[in-house]
Amino acid sequence: MEEKTKISEIIKIEYLTPSDAEFSENGGMITMKLTKDGETKDVGRVFLHRCFPHETEDGFISVLDRDGNELGLIRDAGDFGEEVKALIERELGRRYRVFIIKKIKSVNEKYGYSYWKAEDESGELEFTVQDTYRSITKIDDDRIYISDIDGNRYEIPSLSALDRKSFKRIELFL
C-alpha cells in the first residue's frame, strides 16, 4: 500500500529563518529584506501578526507585506537573536497593546450599558460597555478581556489574582 502523504508535505509552510530574512529597524518600524532563490529583495516595512495571540506570544508570527500578503511565518522569534527578537517583540507589543486592568473600582449598569471605573498600570480609566455579557470574552477560565463601545480592549490576565472587591464587581458578568 502506498504510504499516505503527510499534510506537511502537501503544503509547505514557509518559515522565515535568519538566513533568508533580515529584519531591521527603520524610522521606528520593522522592515525586512527577503532572500529567495539567491535573490535579495528589500520588502520595506512588514506587519507582524500573531497566529495564536492567546496561546503563544513569540511563536507562529505571520509576516505580511504592505498589501497584506504573507511573506512567511516566524516559528520562534528567538531564532533571530536577541536584538531582532527585541525588535519583533516591540512591534508585536504595539499591535497587541491592551490595557491591563489591575482593579475594578465600580461597575454601574444603566439603560443597557455598563459604566466601568478601573485602574490600569498608569492610573484610573473609565470606559463604557454595551451588552456586557457579550463584551466579555473568556480566553480561558481565569483570563478575560472586555471590549468597550469604541473597540478598545481591557484585559484581566488573572481573575483569581484580582482583589476580592474587584472580583465581586465583575463576577456577575462572567
Binding site: 491592551v98 450599558y113 451588552d131 456577575l172
Partner: protein, 757 residues
C-alpha cells in the same frame, strides 16, 4: 484653523513654547497615547510648512469648581517638513491605532492613540492633506458635528447611535411621557385600581372585626354588642366572601387586559423597528433587538398593569393601617412605625444578596443551555470526530457549575428565609411585649382586643413593606425598558422618503452612478468616486476581490443606505427623489445571503407578489431551476420551510430566492453572487434561465467567477472601493490590467483541475 479636537489656551501656549504661533496652525488634532503607547496627551498641529507633534500631559491646577488653570507639560516634541510627508494614514491595531506616514522615504509613526481618538485621527488625515499635499480640501460640516458628546454636560454618550446621556436625561420629561403612554390604558388601570382599593379596605376592616370588635365588644359583658355571636360570625364570613369576589373580579379583568396591552406594546415596538433604515440594525445585535421586543413589552406591561396598581394599593393599605393603629393607640403605633421599617430594612439587605445569587444561577444556567444546544446542533461533528468524551466533560463542567450555584441558592433560601422571618417575627415580639406590658399595667387604656387587632395590623404591614422594596427594582427595570421603547419610537430613519416623490410612468431601467462615495464607518470609504452607466435592458458585470465594495453598490442602488457624495440616477432621476415603493418594486435582488421566512415554499416565492397565481409561481420556480426539486418533496410547493421545519440545502434555498426575485418581474435585476452556492451543473442551468430573464431587463451581475460574467455588455472592476478599470471583456483583456490578471489566474486554476472554460 481646522480644529478637530478641542484647542485651548494651554495648547496654544505649549505650541508657542516650541516656536509655533497659534495663528499659523492650519489643522489641529489631539490623541490620547504617547509614542510608547502609554496614556498621555499628544498634540498634532500642521502649519503651512511643518507638522509639529507634542507629547506630554495636561496638568490642572486650582480648586475644582472654581477657576482652574490648565498647562501642557511637554515631554517630547517632534517636527516634520510637510514636503517630506507622504501617505499619511491611520493604521488600526488590535486595541489601539497609529497615525503613520512615510517621511523622507522612511516609515514613521507620528502619533499613537486608543480607539477613542480614531475618529478624530481619520478626520485629521483628510484635512491635513490640505497643507501637506498642498491641495484643496472641501470642509464637510458633518465631520465637525461631533455627536458623540452630550451637549449639556460634555460627557461622551455611551453609544453614539443612541444619543442618551444617562446623567442628563430629563427625568421629569421622561416620566411625563411614560405617564402619557400609560394613558391609553387608563380605563383598565382604573378598574384594577378600584378593585385593589376595595380589597385593601376589606383587608383592613377584617382584622378589626375578628379581633378588637370580637374580644372587646362581643365577648365583653358591658358592651351593647355582648353575645351577638351570630352577627359577628356572619360579618366575618361576609367580609371574606366579599374579598374573594373582588379578588376574582380583579383577576379576570387583569387577564383580559393583559393580552391587549402586551399586544399593543409589541406592535408599537415592532412597527417602529420596521420603519427604520438598515443601518439601525447593523449597529445593533439582532439578538438584543429580539430581547427588546419580547422582554420590554412584558416589563412595561407588568409595571403598569400590576406594578403601579399594586404599589398604590400597598401604599394605601399601609397608610390606612397606620392611621387605624394611631387611632387605636398612638404610642404603640409610633413605636411600631419605627421598629417595623428598621427590621424590614435588615431583611431587605439579606435579600439583596439573594438577588446576586440568583443572577449567578441564571448565568450558569444560560451557559449550560448554550453548551447543550451547541452540542446537539453539532452532534454529527461530535460523532464524526469521536469527541463524545470531551463533549461530555464540557457539559459536565457547565452542569456542575449550575448544580453548585443552585445549591448555593437553596442553601441560602433555607437559612436566610427562616432567619429573615425570624427577624420580622422579632419585630412582632417587640410590639407584642410592649403592648402586653401596656395591657398589664393598664396604661393608655390598652385592652386585650386592641392588642390582638394591633398585632394583626402589624402582620398586615409586612407584605407591603417587602413589596415597596421590590418596587425600587421593578421601577428601574421599567424605566430601562420604556427608555429603549421611546428610543426606537424616536429614532429617525437615515434613509428617508421624499415627501412628494417623483412618479415615473414606467421605469425603463437606465442606471447611472455619478462620483458616488460611501462609507459604513466615518472616514473609511468603501466606495470612492465610482461612476458608471448602464443603458436600459443592458447587463453590467461587477468584478473585484471580496471586500472590494461590490455588494455595497447593490445596497446603494436599492437605497438601503444613502450615498455620502455623488448621485445615483435611474432614468435620469435621482433615486432619493423616487418613492420607496416604486424603487423597490422595480429592483429585484438575489443575493449571496438568502433568507427564507418560516412558511411554505409557495409563500416564500409569493413574498415578492402576494397575488401571484399558481402558474406564475411554478413558472418562476422553473426559471430559477427550483421546480424540479420542489415537486419531489412530499408536500411540493406547500412544504413548510424555515426554522424548525424542512431544512433545505444552500443551493436549494438560493434557487427559491431566485424564484422570488423572478416573480417580482423587476425592471432592474441585481444578481449578487446569485449562483455561488450551486454546483456547476445547476449553475449552468440557471445561468441559462437567468440569461433569458435578463433580456430586456437592466441586469447588474456581481460574481466571483469571471466566466459567469462573460456575457455582460460591460464590466467594471472594483478595487478598494475605487473603479480602476471598466469596459467590455475584450477591451479589458487587451488592457492587461487587473481584470486580465484575475482572468488569467482563474483560467489557469481551471486548467489545473482539468476544466476548460
Amino acid at each position: 484653523m481646522i480644529q478637530i479636537s478641542k484647542f485651548g489656551g494651554h495648547i496654544a501656549r505649549a505650541f508657542e513654547s516650541v516656536g509655533v504661533a497659534a495663528g499659523d496652525i492650519e489643522v489641529f488634532c489631539a490623541t490620547d497615547l504617547d509614542s510608547s503607547f502609554m496614556r498621555a496627551d499628544t498634540l498634532i498641529a500642521v502649519t503651512a510648512e511643518k507638522t509639529y507633534v507634542l507629547e506630554g500631559v495636561v496638568t490642572v491646577s486650582g480648586r475644582p469648581g472654581r477657576e482652574v488653570t490648565k498647562e501642557f507639560a511637554i515631554k517630547a516634541s517632534h517636527e516634520y517638513d510637510n514636503d517630506k510627508i507622504k501617505d499619511l494614514a491611520v493604521e488600526e491595531l488590535v486595541s489601539t491605532a497609529m497615525l503613520t506616514c512615510s517621511f523622507d522615504g522612511e516609515p514613521k509613526i507620528i502619533a499613537c492613540m486608543t480607539k477613542n481618538s480614531l475618529r478624530d485621527a481619520r478626520i485629521f488625515v483628510k484635512y491635513a492633506a490640505g497643507p501637506i499635499e498642498k491641495k484643496e480640501v472641501k470642509i464637510d460640516d458633518e465631520d465637525f458635528k461631533d455627536e458623540r458628546f452630550c451637549p449639556k454636560c460634555g460627557r461622551r454618550y455611551p453609544d453614539p447611535e443612541r444619543k442618551i446621556c444617562p446623567r442628563c436625561m430629563e427625568k421629569s420629561k421622561f416620566y411625563k411621557r411614560l405617564f402619557e403612554f400609560s394613558k391609553a390604558y387608563k380605563k383598565q388601570m382604573l378598574t384594577v385600581l378600584i378593585c385593589l382599593a376595595a380589597l385593601s379596605a376589606l383587608g383592613v376592616i377584617a382584622p378589626y372585626v375578628s379581633t378588637s370588635f370580637f374580644y372587646d365588644k362581643v365577648l365583653t359583658p358591658e358592651s351593647k354588642w355582648y353575645g351577638q355571636l351570630l352577627f359577628v360570625l356572619a360579618l366575618v364570613v361576609l367580609l371574606k366572601l366579599a374579598s374573594l369576589l373582588v379578588n376574582a373580579v380583579t383577576g379576570i379583568i387583569s387577564a383580559r387586559v393583559s393580552g391587549k396591552v402586551t399586544y399593543d406594546l409589541k406592535k408599537t415596538i415592532f412597527s417602529s423597528i420596521e420603519r427604520l433604515s438598515l443601518s439601525f440594525f447593523t449597529a445593533r445585535q439582532t439578538g438584543g433587538l429580539m430581547n427588546q421586543i419580547n422582554n420590554d413589552s412584558n416589563t412595561i406591561y407588568w409595571f403598569f398593569c400590576m406594578g403601579v396598581p399594586a404599589f398604590l394599593k400597598n401604599s394605601v393599605q399601609m397608610i390606612a393601617v397606620f392611621v387605624i393603629m394611631f387611632i387605636m393607640d398612638p404610642v404603640l403605633a409610633a413605636f411600631s412605625a419605627v421598629i417595623i421599617p428598621l427590621f424590614a430594612y435588615i431583611v431587605y439587605r439579606i435579600f439583596k444578596k439573594m438577588t446576586s445569587l440568583h443572577a449567578k444561577t441564571y448565568a450558569s444556567s444560560r451557559a449550560l443551555n448554550s453548551a447543550l444546544s451547541d452540542n446537539l446542533a453539532g452532534f454529527r461533528v461530535v460523532k464524526a470526530f469521536s469527541r463524545e468524551k470531551e463533549e461530555t466533560a464540557r457539559f459536565d463542567r457547565a452542569s456542575y457549575r449550575l448544580a453548585r450555584d443552585s445549591r448555593n441558592v437553596t442553601f441560602f433560601n433555607n437559612t436566610a428565609f427562616p432567619f429573615a422571618s425570624f427577624i420580622m417575627f422579632l419585630s412582632n415580639i417587640i410590639v407584642w411585649g410592649v403592648g402586653g406590658w401596656m395591657v398589664i399595667t393598664g396604661k393608655s387604656g390598652m385592652t386585650y382586643g386592641t392588642l390582638m387587632a394591633f398585632l394583626a395590623y402589624v402582620a398586615l404591614m409586612n407584605e407591603p413593606m417587602y413589596m415597596l422594596v421590590d418596587m425600587v427594582y421593578w421601577f428601574s427595570d421599567c424605566t430601562n425598558a420604556a427608555q429603549r421603547l421611546f428610543e426606537i419610537a424616536d429614532a429617525e430613519p437615515d434613509v428617508r422618503e421624499r415627501e412628494d416623490p417623483v412618479r415615473l410612468t414606467e421605469m425603463k431601467g437606465h442606471v447611472e452612478f455619478k462620483d458616488v462615495e460611501f462609507s459604513y464607518i466615518k472616514g473609511k470609504k468603501v466606495i470612492d468616486g465610482v461612476s458608471f452607466e448602464v443603458d436600459a435592458g443592458r447587463c453590467i458585470g461587477i468584478v473585484g476581490h471580496s471586500g472590494a465594495g461590490k455588494s455595497t453598490i447593490a445596497n446603494l442602488l436599492m437605497r438601503l443606505y444613502d450615498t455620502d457624495a455623488g448621485q445615483i440616477l435611474i432614468d435620469g432621476v435621482n433615486i432619493k427623489d423616487l418613492s420607496f415603493d416604486e424603487l423597490r418594486k422595480n429592483i429585484g435582488i438575489v443575493s449571496q445571503e438568502t433568507y427564507l421566512f418560516v412558511g411554505t415554499i409557495a409563500e416564500n416565492i409569493r413574498y415578492a407578489r402576494s397575488d401571484a397565481t399558481f402558474e406564475d409561481v411554478v413558472a418562476a420556480a422553473k426559471i430559477a431551476g427550483a421546480h424540479e426539486f420542489i415537486v419531489k418533496l412530499p408536500d411540493g410547493y406547500d412544504t413548510k420551510i424555515g426554522f424548525g421545519y424542512k431544512d433545505l440545502s444552500g443551493g436549494e434555498k438560493q434557487r427559491i430566492s431566485i424564484a422570488r426575485a423572478v416573480l417580482l418581474d423587476p425592471k432592474i435585476l441585481i444578481l449578487d453572487e446569485a449562483t455561488a452556492a450551486m454546483d456547476t451543473q445547476t449553475e449552468r442551468k440557471i445561468q441559462h434561465a437567468l440569461r433569458l430573464l435578463s433580456k430586456g431587463r437592466t441586469t447588474i451581475m456581481i460574481a466571483h467567477r469571471l466566466s459567469t460574467l462573460r456575457d455582460a455588455d460591460k464590466l467594471i472592476v472594483l478595487e478598494n472601493g475605487k473603479m480602476p478599470e471598466s469596459g467590455t471583456h475584450d477591451e479589458l483583456i487587451h488592457k492587461k490590467g487587473i481584470y486580465y490578471d484575475l482572468y488569467r489566474l482563474q483560467l489557469e486554476a481551471l486548467k489545473n483541475i482539468g476544466v476548460e472554460e
